[in-house]
Amino acid sequence: MRRYLVAAVCLAIVTVMLLPLVFSVLASLKPTAEAAASPPTYWPDAFSLDSYQRLWTYQQGLPTYPCSTASGRRC
């Protein structure tokens, strides 16, 4: 009995702690329009890697920043 109580409490804790991260990962997989929808959706209607593709072109592009941090010069 006690074992199940502990397991249930643990499950509740895990859910609360993981939800923000799960929502964040799911949002990253939504198409751009759906990611900006109001009210938001829990589960993506359609999966897309748009956001990950945009990483390479957004502002200076993702690789620029670790490169300049590591080298201390323009990349």
Binding site: V6, C10, I13, V14, M17, F23, S24, A37, S38
Partner: protein
């Protein structure tokens, strides 16, 4: 001489990265310096000005209130989690790992994540609360009402930091010699007695350490407020470090910002000394 050579690298590091910036800050605090014009000596003017600055005291007060709410949540919550999760079973190990996960995320990243979750229109916090029927209209969490903003930020900080205290508490609880626990079981101590008479006294040092670290962390809170409210509404959620930042950079009052930093550092130093004296006396 040989000893000096041994401590040399560490000494050099401290001199370059702690002593020099501190001396430089003390020097800055005695000048009026806008970064674009050369610094001008003003003596203690910056300090007298700080004592008359209402917004400075408002920000100190707000930081204290934030600290007074967030610290007990982190300590009590972390300790309860540790009590629940200290034994090594697969379920507990997994839960421990999950609770600790947010600690390894940067505070800036987690603040951005929660800024999005708490957003009135696009945020999933409102969505969940609406779907559960807790609220009937979307709530504007951040930047409009100071208490509501504070509540949202505290929730995000607890999520982010609670695992840190928990891990240290779990370590302390596991370090209690098993013969003490076994003796108490033989003597017929119940769960509550074991917690209050054995576990709590034997982990008191760790509790005090985590309290010290988390109070200092809360008094220096900046990232989460900078990202999630930027001091809004009307600087009501400006913490003292945020106020230092406002003066130093957007307002270009480097000297005044340095003076405020010095006062803040002295306050935290005083608090730390008191706390360490208490720890030494309790001698747990």
């Amino acid at each position: 001489m040989v000893g000096l050579a041994y401590v040399g690298p560490a000494l050099l590091f401290v001199l370059v990265f702690t002593v020099y910036p501190l001396v430089r800050m003390a020097w800055m605090s005695l000048h009026n310096w806008s970064l674009i014009t050369p610094p001008r000596w003003v003596g203690l003017d910056n300090y007298t000005r700080a004592f008359d600055d209402r917004q400075f005291w408002v920000s100190i007060r707000f930081t204290m209130e934030y600290t007074l709410v967030v610290t007990p949540l982190l300590i009590v919550g972390g300790y309860l989690l540790a009590l629940l999760l200290a034994r090594n079973t697969p379920v507990r190990r997994l839960t421990r790992t999950v609770v600790f996960t947010p600690v390894v995320i940067g505070l800036g990243v987690s603040s951005l994540l929660w800024y999005w979750l708490f957003s009135a229109d696009f945020g999933l916090v409102n969505k969940v609360l609406l779907d559960l029927g807790v609220i009937s209209d979307p709530v504007v969490w951040l930047g409009v009402d100071a208490d509501r903003s504070n509540l949202a930020i505290i929730a995000s900080v607890v999520w982010k930091v609670i695992g840190f205290g928990m891990i240290l508490f779990v370590g302390a609880i596991q370090a209690i010699p098993t013969d003490i626990t076994e003796a108490s079981l033989v003597d017929g101590a119940n769960a509550r007695q074991r917690v209050t008479r054995i576990i709590l006294p034997l982990t008191l040092r760790t509790v005090l350490l985590v309290t010290l670290l988390s109070v200092i962390g809360s008094l220096l809170a900046f990232d989460q407020f900078y990202i999630m409210t930027a001091g809004q509404p009307q600087n009501e959620t400006a913490t003292s470090v945020f106020f230092v930042y406002l003066n130093s950079f957007p307002y270009l009052r480097l000297g005044y910002g340095a003076a405020l930093s010095m006062l803040l550092a002295l306050g935290i130093l005083a608090f730390t000394v008191v706390q360490l004296l208490l720890t030494r006396r309790s001698h747990a």
